[in-house]
């Protein structure tokens, strides 16, 4: 179930196993049969660590979703709540506990497992409700960095960006630092730390502090990572706003990938058996897991969508040919060999069928007029054209009441590409948005302004063109089929964040000091001493391993760009990616929007 985690340069199975062990330890503390009550948000991330079978081995007999009211009857000794430390969840738990029938025998014991951390605030809250004493074990489960793939870790902390940049709450950074300490405990001390941005600076400081305070964490493991690069999301606000154009990026933009799963409209995945087709079309969305365990997906996920069709058709030919082989199998031996290959061929066929269907679904959208118009405007902004005046297309979209998030993405993109909008332009957009979508969105606009995504230009200076030119963010001759530069992931725009990583590896940041100063926050370098004997003697031609940690979120297109750099023949660096959350422009903007009460009807 986790073979894909060991496929990369760094074997992340060890991290998963450490998480499983901790879970087992906790479960064994609550002796006897158990039922788990789940904060629904957690089931996805937990699914990446453990299957139900593990829980079952440790006497978990029932599982429920956390909701107000009386807990379902279940003849178990223990009821364990697996929850995030959120006040609204504490209210539900309180309700559950208070409604528990005291007369039942045998009585059920309650426990709470906070993920990723115990919260004093929550326990205080439970205390005030008078239920804190009902819990025998109150523990925490440090699910900080969850392995998503062989080269990808995420904290899946939805609100990390909002907390860091709007609320100045740096708790998620604290968790990030802790996650990094865990990684170092398993994979050795990372000798070199680079960073850019205020949050990056904080995380590095915390790591150094934690190391000093817990000498026990000093370990004797040969370091797997050579370098850690910490990047603030607000150093590159531009990239997530643009529409991702890789296969995986588009799946995420259109359908949303959650904890490696995607839900797709079922029509294209109708039952395949002939004769019964069309009888009962499934109405539930088709859910697929997407990770590198699937050979075909690993090959196409990071390609520009324009290059996916040809791969699929090539695969189809290969598979057809393989099945044709059966006609040539004459001897028993040959037939036996053919049969032995069948399972693999079937898997390949079903994988191809799925991705052909997904590609068709996506193509319907990417060939639509509106997708094209939207992309044209994005590319104009990113290449620096007409960023200083009111854009017609945006106005049209507002007039036609396109989804507000789409409008906000575009307006923010324009603002970022112009180092802020002229006051008149900004006021105009604001007015149109408020009049069309409702005045209450003034709160959301304010949040975006605070986060620096939407702002008036100050000092009348637009730095973006300099940054664009120096970092070569816009490439006119992009090759989508056989890319030679990371800009293929956005069909022309090279993600700023990844360019920083690329330039750090070669020739080093000293060459771009000027531009680094234009971007927000400090840039820095730290070294962590290694005991003698652990210093690496690199084999000739061996690649360095860099862990890039995106504080505030990363997109699939950026991941694709880093994987592209890993695979470059003369690249010399392989990347592992960590983040607080996998995001796209829509989920990101949404996390910054003020939660408005539903309309009263």
């Amino acid at each position: 179930m986790a073979a894909h985690l060991s496929s990369g340069r760094v074997n992340l199975t060890a991290l998963r196993e450490a998480g499983r062990r901790e879970l087992r330890e906790f479960l064994d503390k609550c002796a006897g049969s158990k039922a788990i009550v789940w904060d629904e948000y957690l089931t996805g991330p937990f699914g990446l660590i453990a299957q139900y079978s593990l829980l079952k081995e440790h006497e978990v007999e029932k599982m429920f979703t956390l909701k107000p009211g009386r807990l379902p009857p279940a003849d178990v000794k223990n009821i364990i709540f697996f929850v995030r430390p959120k006040l609204e969840l504490m209210d539900i738990i309180t309700d559950n506990v208070l409604r528990e029938d005291r007369g039942r025998s045998p009585q059920r014991d309650f426990h709470i497992l906070f993920v990723p951390r115990r919260s004093l605030l929550c326990e205080q809250w439970l205390k005030e409700q008078g239920v804190l004493g009902s819990f025998i074990h109150r523990e925490q489960y440090s699910l900080d960095l969850i392995p998503f793939d062989g080269d990808l870790l995420s904290m899946e902390s939805e609100s990390a960006f909002k907390e860091c940049y709007l609320e100045s709450d740096q708790t998620s950074l604290y968790h990030a630092a802790k996650g990094l300490m865990t990684l170092q405990a398993l994979y050795g001390t990372i000798p070199q730390i680079f960073g850019k941005g205020d949050c990056a600076r904080h995380v590095a400081n915390m790591m150094i502090r934690m190391k000093r305070e817990f000498p026990g964490s000093q370990n004797s493991i040969f370091p797997v990572f050579d370098t850690l690069l910490l990047l603030d999301r607000n150093v590159d606000l531009l990239t997530p706003l643009a529409t991702q154009l890789t296969y995986e990026g588009l799946i995420d933009e259109i359908y949303g990938i959650q904890n490696t799963y995607v839900k797709l409209p079922p029509e294209k995945f109708a039952p395949k058996k002939q004769g019964e087709g069309g009888k009962d079309l499934p109405t539930e969305p088709k859910k697929l897991q997407l990770n590198s365990a699937e050979e075909l997906y690993a090959e196409i996920r990071d390609k520009n969508f324009n290059a996916v069709g040809s791969v699929l058709s090539k695969k189809a030919k290969i598979i057809s040919a393989a099945f044709e082989e059966r006609h040539h199998a004459k001897t028993v031996g040959e037939i036996k060999q053919f049969v032995s290959q069948l399972p693999h061929m079937q898997a390949a066929r079903s994988s191809l069928a799925n991705h052909t269907s997904i590609a068709e679904l996506i193509k319907d959208i990417t060939t639509s007029e509106d997708f094209f118009d939207n992309l044209t405007v994005e590319q104009e902004f990113m290449s620096g054209i007409d960023t200083d005046k009111v854009n017609n297309y945006i106005e049209d979209c507002i007039a036609q009441k396109h989804p507000l998030i789409k409008i906000l993405r575009l307006v923010c993109l324009q603002s970022v590409c112009n180092s802020g909008l002229k006051q008149k332009v900004l006021d105009h957009y604001k007015r149109e948005i408020l009049q069309t979508y409702g005045y209450e969105h003034i709160l959301t606009l304010n949040n975006l302004e605070k986060a620096g995504l939407l702002k008036p230009q100050t000092g009348g200076r637009n730095n973006y063109p300099t940054i664009r030119k120096t970092l070569r963010l816009w490439m006119d001759d992009v090759n989508e089929q056989n890319p030679n530069d990371i800009s293929y992931v956005y069909s022309g725009y090279a993600p700023l964040s990844v360019r920083l990583a690329q330039l750090l590896a070669r020739p080093g940041w000293r060459s771009i000091e000027e531009v680094l100063k234009m971007l927000p926050g400090p840039h820095f370098e730290e070294r962590q001493q290694l005991p003698t004997g652990l210093q690496k003697k690199r084999q000739h031609g061996e690649n360095r391993v860099t862990l890039v940690f995106f504080l505030g979120g990363v997109t699939y297109a950026e991941i694709a760009a880093l994987r592209f750099l890993s695979q470059m023949e003369d690249g010399g660096t392989e990347y592992v990616i960590a983040t607080t959350k996998l995001i796209n422009g829509t989920t990101w903007i949404k996390s910054l929007m003020e939660k408005l009460e539903p309309a009263p009807f």
Binding site: R16, N306, T356
Partner: protein
């Protein structure tokens, strides 16, 4: 999106940007089709259920996954699970064998001591002066006392909350706060803040927080979470963050369901110290709701009475209360178009009150009248008279947009054609006319362009013997025209 093929080609190529399209669309499409075909043809050969192969239920949850199991166990079919489940055991247990370095560490034990840094001061000293201890360089902390503390961490919340009481002097409390902030753990910072909030006078707390921005943000966030609105506003006022006070107060309106109360509340928001730009928006918000309440009362009555034909024919889908301004304008253009400017519900009154730009107004009115198929109103919308009494057609949004909106509301060709003809740019006019089959406009445009070849080509698009066909013939036979080709 049924743009004609030729148009589309032209559209892609004329753009100065790389279209996000397949290099060769036909080829690409056929590639996808091809792989689909291959996949389909293979089905006869391997005709077994591959869902089974992947061990994935239809909804995609791998059998045995947590979310799948919640459904399964909750529905009580535990027994049916065993069989399937045991087949999975192998998969998970094969990872029990681990690299050695991993197993020698228990992550939880490593990091459970995160609060030690300032708690060590508590246990080390007998309870007299803690502050100096806190200032001790971290390196001096004894490993052994840390380990001891780790064991106690389980009781931490109570320990912490009680122990904090021992920090009595202001100076101690501030050192405690600074230490907590330096640790960046919001959990701890908040706990300390709750303690300070309880034990310090407001003015002192506010004053000290003013120079401690991080702690301040945490407190603001905490107050917002727990809904201590009054304390929050006091704090913001003290800090002179007036705009934030205003916004924070304004946010409250979202929690008021009763419209009358909401209106009253918004009224009270008008005087708040917003930025100049925001003040006018808030004022508008109030005026709009006030207006909506009047319109709603009136129209509900009208609808119930069943006297108005308009309301009978097009019953209202929802109340207009709390709708955005443009939606309200649309509503007003739909139900109250002909009313005089004096009434609150008339479009012109809304336009004037909220200074709605011409463009916005025309777009909305057009959409509303087109929906009602009131073509006369549409016509009037674009007709202007000059002082000599001549009429002229003018559209602030450009006639191509007019055509699109009319088309979306399925206007008949006769109506459509009239506006296609008014599109100034020849290229756009031709493409729109072709797209929406306004034959007359196409024919006349080619005639004006003296483009004989295109005109002849267009003959294939019209029905043989139809009026259009004859029109083309008569133009082609007209000796007066000097064709350019």
């Amino acid at each position: 999106m049924s743009r004609a093929r030729a148009d589309e080609e032209e559209y892609w190529h004329s753009s100065k940007f790389r279209a996000f399209t397949f290099d060769d669309e036909d080829d690409e499409l056929s590639q996808l089709k091809e792989s689909k075909r291959a996949v389909n043809s293979l089905r006869d050969i391997v005709d077994d259920d591959d869902d089974d192969l992947e061990r994935v239920s239809w909804s995609g949850e791998p059998v045995g996954s947590i979310s799948w199991s919640i459904k399964e166990t909750a529905s009580g079919s535990t027994s049916s699970l065993d069989g399937r489940d045991s087949s999975l055991q192998k998969g998970s247990s094969s990872y029990a064998v681990l690299p050695k370095q991993g197993s020698s560490y228990s992550l939880s034990s490593l990091f459970k001591g995160e609060l030690c840094f300032f708690l060590s001061a508590l246990t080390d000293t007998g309870g007299k002066s803690y502050a100096p201890e806190l200032r001790r360089p971290k390196a001096e902390y004894k490993v052994s006392s840390l380990c001891l503390l780790c064991a106690k961490i389980r009781e931490l919340p109570t320990l912490l909350v009680c122990s904090l009481e021992r920090f009595r002097s202001l100076q101690d409390k501030l050192v405690l706060l600074d230490e907590a902030v330096a640790g960046h753990d919001g959990n701890v910072i908040t706990a300390v803040l709750i303690f300070l909030k309880r034990t310090l006078r407001r003015e002192i707390l506010f004053r000290e927080l003013e120079v401690r921005q991080v702690a301040l943000c945490h407190l603001i966030h905490f107050l917002r979470e727990t809904g201590e609105q009054k304390f929050l506003l006091d704090l913001l006022r003290f800090l002179d963050r007036t705009e934030e006070v205003a916004l924070s107060q304004y946010r409250e309106h979202l929690n008021i369901q009763d419209v009358e109360k909401r209106r009253e509340f918004l009224k009270s928001c008008i005087g708040l110290p917003f930025s100049a730009e925001d003040t006018s928006h808030i004022q508008d918000h109030y005026t709009l709701l006030e207006r909506q309440i009047i319109i709603e009362a009136n129209d509900r009555h009208l609808e119930m009475a069943g006297q108005s034909e308009l309301f009978r024919k097009y019953p209202r889908k929802a109340s207009i209360l709390n709708m955005p301004l443009v939606t309200t304008l649309f509503y007003s253009c739909f139900y109250h178009y002909t009313e005089a400017e004096g009434t609150f519900s008339s479009p012109s009154n809304l336009k004037k009150t909220f200074k709605i730009p011409d463009k916005q107004y025309v777009l909305t009115a057009l959409a509303a009248r087109a929906k009602l198929r009131a073509w006369g109103d549409v016509d009037a919308l674009f007709t202007t008279k000059n002082w000599l009494g001549y009429t002229k057609k003018k559209a602030p949004i450009g006639f191509h947009r007019v055509v699109e909106i009319l088309q979306r509301n399925s206007a008949p060709v006769q109506v459509l054609q009239e506006y296609v003809r008014l599109v100034e740019d020849v290229e756009t006019r031709l493409s729109l006319a072709t797209k929406y089959k306004c034959h007359d406009v196409v024919i006349e445009t080619y005639r004006d362009l003296k483009d004989r070849i295109q005109l002849i080509a267009y003959k294939s698009k019209v029905e043989r013997g139809s009026a259009e066909d004859e029109k083309i013939n008569s133009i082609l036979n007209n000796m007066q025209i000097r064709w350019k080709n």
